[in-house]
């Protein structure tokens, strides 16, 4: 991999569900150690873009490229499919509704994929899982079942589960939207810490404070297109387009 090629790249992605076009030629690159925040009104296609990058949706046009190698295209050939399998677990994802597996304890949720996918010995997987649980401050909940945890705790476990596969990039799909304000803070604190440690992140969010202060780049989407992209807090200080200005106006009172 050359040092200039982006870690993950959305290359002119168009996505249609039937007659409904959700994304129109969206291109976005994420470099190593980037924290790219995607903001925009609901229905603007943010989540769909993220799901394309997570290989949960196939683009109708365009492609997803990881470290120079195409991993998702419309009706992918064998080569692309094999490449996708190879990097599958290097792209982690945190969901809006956590999606922890309710029939497994916290620890089992964390060690399942390392043991099954990476064929890691159980001892090693447990050691990694325990250190990750300490990191998200939930070590004492290792044997609890997800239903016993608060939403904020569940989301922190979900982040630890994604980290257990040591992904190169972590995608966050409105990770705090389903949480009460006071629970949001504990999840945002973990995300901020990850950013500080140099984790590459693509964050779809409504948390303007996080985007402004933690993001290295902010991307504004509306109606399936990227309308504006600016480094760091520049997007918030001086939005260029009228649509972005109108969008930010809603948060002015907050």
């Amino acid at each position: 991999m050359s040092s200039t090629s982006p870690l993950i790249l959305a290359d002119g992605i168009t996505k249609r569900f039937g007659a409904n076009q959700v994304l129109t030629r969206v291109s976005l690159e994420v470099l190593e150690r980037d924290v790219v925040c995607v903001v925009g009104p609901s229905g603007s296609g943010k989540t769909t873009l993220l799901r394309c990058l997570a290989l949960l949706e196939e683009p109708s046009e365009g492609r997803v490229v990881m470290e120079g190698v195409p991993i998702s295209t419309p009706s992918p050939n064998k080569q692309v499919k094999a490449a996708a399998r190879g990097v599958r677990s290097e792209i982690g994802m945190v969901f809006q509704h956590f999606n922890l597996w309710p029939h497994m304890s916290v620890l089992q949720n964390l060690i399942e994929a390392p043991i099954r996918v990476k064929k890691m010995p159980r001892d090693k997987a447990v050691a990694i899982a325990e250190s990750l649980l300490k990191k998200v401050d939930l070590f004492e909940k290792r044997d609890a079942y997800p239903a016993r945890l608060s939403g904020g705790q569940q989301q922190r476990v979900a982040i630890a589960r994604a980290l257990a596969m040591s992904p190169k990039v972590l995608l966050f799909d409105e990770a705090t939207s389903a949480l009460d304000p006071e629970l949001r803070r504990e999840v945002l604190a973990v995300m901020r810490q990850l950013a500080r440690e140099g984790m590459t992140m693509l964050v779809v969010t409504h948390e303007m404070g996080f985007a402004r202060h933690v993001g290295t780049r902010t991307v504004f989407m509306d109606r399936g297109e990227i309308v504006e992209a600016a480094p760091g807090s520049a997007f918030f200080d001086a939005p260029q387009t009228e649509r972005a200005q109108r969008f930010l106006q809603q948060f002015a009172d907050e």
């Binding site: 997570a54 290989l55 949960l56 599958r88 677990s89 792209i91 982690g92 994802m93 969901f95 509704h97 999606n99 922890l100 597996w101 309710p102 029939h103 399942e112 994929a113 099954r116 996918v117 990476k118 079942y145 239903a147 979900a158 589960r161 994604a162 596969m165």
Partner: protein, 221 residues
Amino acid sequence: MFKYQFRWDTVWGSFDFLMGGLQMTLVISAITLVLAMVGGLVIALLDMSRFRVLRWVGISIGEVVRNTPILVQLLWVYYVLPIVFGVRIEALVALIIGLALYQASFISEVYRSGIQSVPKGHREAAQVLGMTPLQSFNRIVLPQAIRMTLPPLASNFVQLIKFSSLGAVISVSEITRRGMELSATNFRPLETFTFIAVVYFFICWPLAMAIRFWERRLQAR
């Protein structure tokens, strides 16, 4: 009627005969449940198949069996299959085949709703972590689906205990049939069939209560 002289001794005198019938009832129900669980899985897999022809076969079997009376099906299996295939089927075998097919068509729906009760997000989480579709099904979907299907399967067992009494019509020697035979010789249908009803009730009722308790506990999770 209330001058009626109860003669329960006619029942006690044939207690072993009737209990032998009960044993038969329970064995038929258990064998049928196992067959119906396998058959239900086959029908469910056909229903969810990628191939349209197989889906069509699965759905047709389910619809035909669910929308015709079980008694007619039993008579059909007992009298028609031998004509078609030119083999004599024993009444017991015909009863088990008929009941198993009938229950399988319901159990297939139980499986399907169990599998569909697992949220899509759970599978997506597995997919994103790199698990294969098979790993995801075995480790994430199936354990949750099984937990959802166990109570309905137990309820099916209760239903089978009751439906197996239809075997009496094709002279399978389970408890109801034995009751018919007994009352034809002791002329005491009131005592005989009351006793048999009580036996069915005290087997089915505790089972049904236990299942209800079990379901409530699963929902509380």
